[in-house]
């Protein structure tokens, strides 16, 4: 834990969002970081998104639940501008990106870190080059690149793998390299596409912890696509703080504090079937949601 703190150089000013009430009145926080307005998309005749609207506020993590093939990855591709909706608007930081060209999307994409479903690491490049990718594209100096790459690999606890190629890594390691690659350049938005799918429970837990730390200590806004209910459990019941001794610890929400920076939305047949907190989701009486949450 102590290792994380010196790697991230967390200081007190750096976005401490455990005290939400005060923070939520700030106009900077009120303006959504990501906003979908009645977005529709179909591939040929198959409707994938059918009027989807939601917002993600600054420092908020939105979990997206839904069946396989339900359009979760598509939603994320829309945010990155890799796809364009048939109708509706998508706003990033208040800017309508719906009609943006590839060229115009580039500065927007710089604000976003993306963790792809299967990692999507570049096979032909080493772990170092994978993580350095974005900085290289921006012609950053080698010295700074190396410093950043090491800092990020330390954050995901993979500094030893720096010279390996993606083929030599296990699934969990690949996913963590993917996270390191996404976090280079300190993006204000991080999108996770099923980051824990197919991983063993401790590794999955580690990945959720990383997401919690980014949310609470770095003020990162994010979308967390998953269909593992326990991930949602972690994200919406635990928070990260820096103790007086400078250590980063995770605490469970208790009576004195209720997490309001994590919400869940559920996609069903291209529409949002549920939107709200984890508690509300678990106590919903809708049989579809019950089935999804409890598997019965």
């Amino acid at each position: 834990m102590a290792k994380l703190e010196d790697t991230l150089n967390i200081s007190d000013e750096e976005g401490f969002v455990t005290e939400f009430d005060a923070a939520m009145d700030d106009p900077y926080r009120v303006k959504p970081v990501i906003e979908f307005r009645d977005v529709r998309l179909a591939f040929d005749d198959k409707v994938i998104l059918d009027g989807v609207s939601f917002t993600v506020r600054r420092g908020e993590t939105k979990c997206i639940l839904g069946r396989s093939g339900g359009g979760k990855s598509t939603t994320i591709r829309l945010i990155l501008g890799l796809l364009k909706p048939d109708s509706g608007q998508i706003l990033i930081d208040g800017e309508d990106i719906t009609g943006f060209s590839e060229e115009e999307m580039m500065p927007v994409r710089q604000k976003i870190g993306m963790v792809f479903q299967e990692g999507a690491l570049f096979d032909s490049l080493s772990v170092y080059e994978n993580v350095a990718y974005r900085l290289r594209e921006q012609n950053v100096e080698e010295e700074e690149i190396e410093h950043e790459v090491r800092r990020m690999l330390r954050f995901v606890d993979l500094e030893d793998a720096i010279d390996k190629t993606p083929n030599e890594l296990s699934g969990g390691m690949r996913r963590r390299v993917g996270i390191a690659r996404a976090l280079v350049g300190d993006p204000e938005i991080v999108l996770y596409d099923e980051p824990t799918a197919g991983l063993d429970p401790p590794t999955a837990r580690t990945i959720c912890e990383l997401a919690i730390k980014l949310r609470d200590l770095q003020d990162v806004s994010s979308i967390f696509v998953t269909h593992e209910m326990n991930n949602i459990g972690y994200l919406s019941s635990e928070y990260a703080i820096v103790t007086e001794t400078g250590e980063v610890v995770l605490e469970k929400e208790g009576e004195k504090l209720c997490l309001i920076n994590t919400e869940v939305i559920m996609l069903r047949d291209g529409k949002i079937a549920f939107s709200g907190t984890d508690e509300k989701l678990r106590s919903s009486s809708d049989p579809y949601i019950q089935n999804f949450v409890y598997g019965k």
Binding site: R77, L80, I112, F116, A120
Partner: protein, 256 residues
Amino acid sequence: MNPITKFIFELQGISLLVWRSFTGLFSRPRYASEWIRQMDLIGVGSLPIVLLTGFFTGAVLVLQTYLTLQAYSIQSSTGQLVATSLVRELGPVLTALMVSGRIGSAIAAELGSMVVSQQIDAMRAFGTDPNRKLVAPRLIALILMLPLLTVAADIFGLIGGAIVADTIYNQDVNAFVNSAREGIQVKDIIGGVVKPVFFGLVVGSVACHKGLSTTGGTVGVGKSTTDSVVIASIWVIIFDFFLSKALQYLLDIGKM
């Protein structure tokens, strides 16, 4: 979708791809090191198969035509016949077909697997235009390397022909070479180098387009790869006819 609409969409996709890649060359970033790498892979990498193909094509041409020409007692023109067919037709076409099989398929497979493993998405998400980084270097390398490979194939074809003429038909090598030199004109050589420029464009753009439009996982990659080779080969052969006609007209070939 009916086949004609589909064909028009594909054509549109390919044209856009080529257009974007070439207009991308006028601004940064250009990824020059990637160009060099592709030229090495495509040019130097294909040299052995292209030389072998050229050599045996020249050899078999002499083997088969000598006897026919002998029947008309004009076997002294073997060199001329072999040289013109090689330089005008067989060199460019066979080289393009070999390169389509070896390089076109590799490009489609590589880009296709990058698509299905989301590496192309990742590239775009992290600020790279795949047209600049992946497509342009491959197109440039094919367009520059195919003419060079063709010339190499032509030369090896003539060597193969000369060896067969000398060893099997006891025709003096000098006689063969003189006849060949008489037969080829500068226009033939120009035509023989212009054609592969277009073939390079055809093979490269079809392969890149097929690769980048892969859908349906690993099975899709296999399909893109085969499609790319089949389609590029057919287009090379169709294009060859029209290019030959155009070149005949432009260079006044065949006017007595």
